[in-house]
Amino acid sequence: MRIGWILGAVACASVCLAPVSIPASISVSSAATNSTQERRDVADYWQCDNRVGGAWLFGQAPSACDAASFGEDRLALSRYSALILRDDAASESEVSRYIEDLHAVLRDAAAHYIRRRKPRASPIEVVVFRRAIQTLAHQESYWTHYRIASDQRLKLMRGDLGHGHGLMQIDDRFHFVTIESGEAWDLIGNLAYALDIYYTEWENAAKAPCLSRADDYEKRARAAYSAYNGGPMQICRWTNANHRWARNDQGYHQKFLAQAWLRRVENPKKAASFNVGCEMDGGKNCSSSEGASGQNAGGGTHPVGQWIRAKANLDLRPKLSGGKRGVWLAGERAQILDFEIRTDASFTRAYRVRTEDGKIGWIFVGGVVGGVSSQDQWIEAMDGGRDGWIPLRRGRILAPSGIKIRRVPGGQSIGIAEFDSVIQVRDVIVHGETNEIYLEIISAQGMQGYIYAGRTSPEPTVARWVRAEENE
C-alpha cells in the first residue's frame, strides 16, 4: 500500500509539476501617447460626477452627470437657457415649451448644414434630412442634452454606460479628442460634430448597394443611421431584420415615421432663440436677443497683453466652448491673449491666457451684477511677468527680414527694426477681431514709430515677429 502511494506520488510529481499551459499575457489595446486619434479604453462613466438617472421621455433621458467636467456651467446657462429643462419644474407645459424650442434649433441646424455642404440640395432632400436629424436626436437621447437635476446642478446627458455624450451621444471611446476639447459638451458643437458624421453617411448611402435610387431619402436616412450607430461598414445593416442590432434600426425607423415630437410642438415655425446657423459656423454675436453694450459692462476689461495673477485656483479650458479642465493655480501669472464678454445681461467674461509655464486656455471670471464686475475676486492686474509673448517694455525682433517701422500703425514706412535687435516698447495697441498687435517702439537705432507684432487670434503669431525680454 505504502509503495502504491509512493508510486502515485512519483507519477504525480513527474506530471503535476510540469509547466502548465497558461493563457498568454493579456494585451489591452495600448495607447500611443502622441496619437491625435487614439481610441481609449475609457472606463464606463469616465469623468462622471454626481450621476443621476432619468426617464425615457423627451428632455429627461438617463443618465446624466455634472456638465462642469467638460465646460463652464455659466456659459451653458447663459447661452442655452431656453434649452435646459429643470427636473423640478418639468410640468407638461414646460416640457412642451422645451421641445418646441429644441425643435426650432434642430430644424435650423439640419437645414443650415445640408445647404452649406450641398448648396444645390433639393427642397425635398432638405426636408427629409431635417427629419432624419430630428429622429437621430430622438433615437440617441430623447432630445436630451443639458438638464438641471434635483441636486440643482447642471447635468450633461451621458448614455451607454456614460460613453455617449449629449444630444447626439458622441462616444468617448472613439471621439476622445473631441470630448476632451469640449466640443461634445457644447450643444451646438455636439450637434455640428454629429452632423459631420451623419452627413458623411448620408452621402455614402446614396451609393450603397442596398439603395436602388439616391433620391429614396427615407432609405438614405435609415442607411445613414445604421452607419452612424454601428460604424461605416454597417450602412446596409437596416436591411437585415435578423441582425443582432436590428432593434436599433427598427427603433430609428419607427421614430422617423411617428415624429412623436410634433405632438408637443404647437408652432413648428417658431424662431429659434438664437441664430443657429451663425453659431454652427462659429460666428460671433449670434444671439438674437438684445444685450447691453460693452460700455455698461462695468469694472473694466483687462486688455490683451495685460499680465494678471490668479487670486484663486481657476479652471483653464482649452476652448471657449469648454473642454477638460486644467488648472491655473492661485498666485500664478499669465498674459492675456484674448477676451470675450457675453452681450447678454450676465456680461460673463472669459479671458484667453498664456501662463508663465506656457499653458494656454480660457478662464471664466464671472459677470457683472449691479454694475459691479465680479472678476476682481478672481484675478488682479500685474505689472508684468516672465517669458510673455507680447513685450510690454522691451523686446527682441524675430522676423528674419526685420519689421518695418511705420509712422502710424499700418501707415507709411519710415525704417526697419532689424532682425535680432532689441526694441524699447512704449505702448501696445490691439486692433480688430483677431487682436492684431502693434507696438509703439524706440528701435535700437533710436527711431520712434510703430511695428506690427503679430496677432493672438485665432492662432497666436506673435512669436514669429517679436519676443518679450522684460527682465534683461
Binding site: P19, S27, R173, N229, T434, P458, E459, W465
Partner: protein, 280 residues
C-alpha cells in the same frame, strides 16, 4: 534472481517508466505552448474584462471569441513564422488582409459584440496595431516599401486607421501616387486633429513640387468639407500659404459664410502672410 530482487527490479523499471512518461508529457505541454505563438488579439474576452471589470461576459461569448481565434490560427498555419523582416511583413499583411475581410464581410469573423460599435472598435484597434508594426518594421528596415499598404489604409472609412496610415506614408517618398491617396483619404476625414497633423505632410508634398494639388485639395476642403475639420484646417493653414496659392485661398475664403470661424481664420492667415511678405 530471487523473488525479492525481481520485485525490486520491476519497481525500479516501473518508476523509471513513470518518470519517462512524466518527462514526455511535460515536453508535450511545453511544445504546445511554444507552437501557440499567435497573439490572442482576436480574443476579446480578456480585453473586455480588463477594460470593463464590471462587465461579466456570458460563456457563449467566450466561446465565440475562441472560435474566432481558432479560425485565425487555422488560417495562419501556412503563414511564415520566421522572425526575419521578410517573414514579418508577410505575416502582418496577411493579418491585415483578414481584418479587411472581417470588416467588409460580417459573417467571416466573429467578435464579441457588447454594443453596436464594439465590433468596429475592435477591428480598428487591430488594424492600427498591425499598421504600427509596419511603421516599426520600416524604421528598422529603411529600404522596405510599405507605401502600398499606407495608401490602401488611407482609404479606410475610419480616421483612427487613417492616422496610422498617415504615419506610415510619412516614412516614404513624396510621390504623386502617395499624394493622391493622401488627398482621397483626407477628403473623407471628419477629424480636425488629423487634418491639422496632415498639414505638415501636405506642406512636405507642397515643397516637393505639388503645390497646385495640395492647394486645390485644401481650398475645396475648406469650401465644402466637414465644418469642424474645416475650422481646424483654416486655423493651421498659414505655413502653406504662398504667393502661388494666395489667390486660391482668397477665393476659398470668399466662398465661406461671412463671419464664420473658418472664413475669419482663413482671412487672418492670408492677412498675416501678406504682412510677412511686406515686412510687417
Amino acid at each position: 534472481m530471487s523473488a525479492r530482487r525481481r520485485f525490486q527490479y520491476r519497481y525500479v523499471v516501473l518508476v523509471a517508466a513513470l518518470l519517462v512518461l512524466g518527462a514526455v508529457l511535460s515536453a508535450g505541454v511545453l511544445f504546445a505552448r511554444r507552437a501557440r505563438s499567435v497573439p490572442r488579439e482576436f480574443s476579446r474576452v480578456d480585453q473586455a474584462s480588463v477594460a470593463n471589470p464590471s462587465r461579466t461576459l456570458p460563456s457563449s461569448e467566450e466561446v465565440m471569441a475562441r472560435k474566432a481565434l481558432a479560425q485565425v490560427e487555422a488560417s495562419m498555419e501556412s503563414a511564415p513564422t520566421s522572425r526575419s523582416a521578410a517573414g514579418e511583413d508577410v505575416a502582418i499583411r496577411g493579418k491585415l488582409k483578414r481584418l479587411k475581410e472581417c470588416w467588409s464581410q460580417e459573417d467571416s469573423c466573429e467578435f464579441v459584440e457588447s454594443d453596436p460599435r464594439s465590433r468596429h472598435f475592435e477591428i480598428v484597434a487591430q488594424v492600427k496595431s498591425a499598421l504600427r508594426s509596419l511603421v516599426t518594421l520600416k524604421l528598422a528596415n529603411p529600404d522596405a516599401d510599405f507605401s502600398s499598404d499606407a495608401r490602401e489604409w488611407l482609404m479606410s472609412p475610419d480616421d483612427h486607421v487613417r492616422e496610422v496610415a498617415l504615419e506610415l506614408l510619412g516614412q516614404h517618398d513624396r510621390s504623386r501616387e502617395n499624394l493622391q491617396a493622401l488627398v482621397v483619404g483626407l477628403s473623407a476625414s471628419l477629424s480636425g486633429p488629423l487634418l491639422r497633423r496632415a498639414l505638415t505632410d501636405l506642406r512636405d508634398f507642397q515643397q516637393a513640387g505639388f503645390d497646385r494639388e495640395v492647394s486645390g485639395f485644401l481650398a475645396e476642403f475648406l469650401r465644402s468639407g466637414p465644418l469642424k475639420a474645416g475650422e481646424a484646417v483654416a486655423d493651421g493653414i498659414l505655413p502653406l500659404v504662398r504667393e502661388t496659392n494666395e489667390n486660391i485661398f482668397t477665393e476659398a475664403a470668399r466662398a465661406l459664410p461671412p463671419g464664420s470661424r473658418s472664413r475669419r481664420a482663413l482671412e487672418a492667415a492670408l492677412d498675416e502672410f501678406r504682412r510677412m511678405r511686406a515686412g510687417g
